[in-house]
């Protein structure tokens, strides 16, 4: 982890009609770290991710990614940004008319048109196996997969370009504990070998303890605290205390200590 920021959010405000979701929200993501983003359901974690990647026009505020102001980026700059990030949406967002393998190949085909078919197939194959899908899943359509498998296919697609920046919205929700642990390991391995920076929305305390360098807590329309879990526990915000000191959190901590 370095001091260089990859994402800087300043004074972000998002609202849907009357309902304000974010108000003067600040957030930093440093190169090479895995930042866990937590918060109660409906506190605007997904909306935050959508505004960072430019799908949701914020009402106010500055967002800078890899030194590029998203709102001011022109078409080709935005395209260049997109090639450097991979995104996993909360519900997978797979293309329903393409097979899993074709889904993984979409970003590759879009950005690197001269890759030959054989290599594309090989890339799709190892990405699919890496993401923990069974090999039979490759020629299947998303509607033929279970919820957890769809999530993994989404991960395979997000990883297709080996992007230096990864956005993951609840990647382990709906996965069995063994699969979730394997996912944690995969992200950790890739982070070390590819120098990844990860923006990770999750409710999975095991994931938070196992792989996150820092955790940002979203509540009251802003990031109320961020830091390592120990630093967070030192604050006396009731929600944070309940979150990280509840029975589930303690179980996750024990699990980590046992390993």
């Amino acid at each position: 982890m370095s001091d260089e920021t990859v994402i800087t959010v300043r004074g972000l405000r998002n609202a849907f009609g009357e309902q304000v979701v974010h108000e003067s929200l600040d957030l930093d993501l440093y190169r090479g770290e895995i930042l866990g983003v937590v918060g109660g359901s409906g506190t605007g974690k997904s909306v935050l991710m959508r505004s960072i990647i430019g799908l949701q026009q914020p009402e106010e505020g500055e967002i800078e990614i890899l030194g590029q102001n998203v709102a001011e980026a022109n078409e080709s700059e935005y395209l260049d940004l997109r090639r450097r990030w991979g995104v996993l949406f909360q519900n997978g967002a797979l293309f329903s008319t393409l097979t899993v393998a074709e889904n993984v190949q979409v970003p590759l085909r879009e950005f690197y048109k001269d890759l030959d078919e054989e290599l594309l197939d090989e890339i799709a194959s190892y990405k699919i196996v890496m993401s923990g899908l069974p090999v039979e899943a490759a020629p299947k359509f998303p509607s033929e997969l279970s919820g957890g498998m769809r999530k993994r296919a989404g991960i395979a697609r997000a990883l297709a370009l080996d992007p230096p920046l990864l956005f993951l919205d609840e990647p382990t929700a709906g996965l069995d504990p063994i699969g979730a642990a394997a996912f944690d390991q995969l992200i950790l391995d890739l982070k070390e070998s590819l120098d990844l920076t990860v923006f990770l929305i999750t409710h999975d305390l095991d994931t938070l303890y196992a792989i996150c360098d820092r955790v940002a807590v979203l509540a009251d329309k802003k990031v109320i605290a961020d830091g390592t879990i120990d630093e967070l526990l030192a604050t006396d915000h009731p929600w944070i205390q309940e979150y990280f000191d509840g029975p589930r959190a303690r179980a996750a901590l024990h699990a980590k200590e046992r390993n």
């Binding site: 329903s96 090989e122 190892y126 990405k127 890496m130 090999v135 039979e136 020629p139 359509f141 391995d189």
Partner: protein, 369 residues
Amino acid sequence: MEGQADFTERETNGETVLHFTGRLTVARIGDLDDRLTDMAIRPAKADISEVERVDTVGAWILHKLKRDYGTKIVGASNNAERLIDQVASADEIVQVRPDEGSAFSRTLARIGAGTMEGFGSLRGLLAFFGGLCIAIGNVFANPRRFRFNAVVQRFETVGVSSLGIIGLMSFLIGIVIAQQGAVQLRQFGAEVFTINLVGRITMRELGVLMTAIMVAGRSGSAFAAQLGSMKLAEEVDAMRTIGVPPMESLVLPRVLATTLLMPLLGFYAALVMIMGGGLLCWVSLGIPPDTFIQRIREVVPMTDLYVGLIKAPVFGFIIGLTGCFQGMQVEGNNEEVGLKTTAAVVQAIFLVIVLDAFFAVFFSSIGWV
């Protein structure tokens, strides 16, 4: 391109060594994979100490060298080594494409599937009709289950909000019929019969038929798309498990709305067509409105009105039924919603026109000519 991945062959101590340079990443890989695959020699070593960066694609290519030629990778950084191990453990035989037979068997299969689908669709429609009858029976036996609000809501979308477009369409069609009729009949000096033409054809046929086409396009398609997306999002399954029968809550109100509103809309359309025709007769034939109305009352028999009013609810029922049926057939992906919506409209209009032909023969044989 800067940092393009490349390699050169060198002989060292009687062994072939591949020296890689540049970045072994997806962006810079170019045709490296092809060149390596087509290589005639079996290199003993691959030296990647000069490589700037390796990602999983580069690691995969190195892994293939190792796997296929037994080449030793030397000079790899820790990261590169770990990546190669990672992709190596993900190397399994994966079937990427769904199974497909030869072109001939595919064509045969497609013909077969099309035929089965045609008959299946017909049978499904009958079964759906049966299911709807049972739902109607249930509602009659247990009137509290009738969803009055849902029906009223459908009345609004199917009926009230389509008055404008149906009115406009009908008015223009009335003008066109009168105009074309007048031109032809003038050749025989029989322009006054334009009134007969307009009055009878609109009451008997066109009022209801054009309305049916409009309702199929507006509401039949909407039904299919609504139910189809609900089906995809498992909303229909959720209803079933909660104990709300979709037939009663989704299908019945819609079919009821089209069935009850078609006669009203058809009659309205016929009236507006007559008005359009009347306007043209007034403007271009000089027949004043009161004479026109007088003549209409003389030449249009009551049976023409009955013919229209009997056909209309049947058409409405068909439109509602096919719309809902196709919507409930959606499975799998979003493209299906589009396909089924199209199918709903095409099937509804087709069935309406076929039935219309039967009705025409039937009514003329019972003497309602």
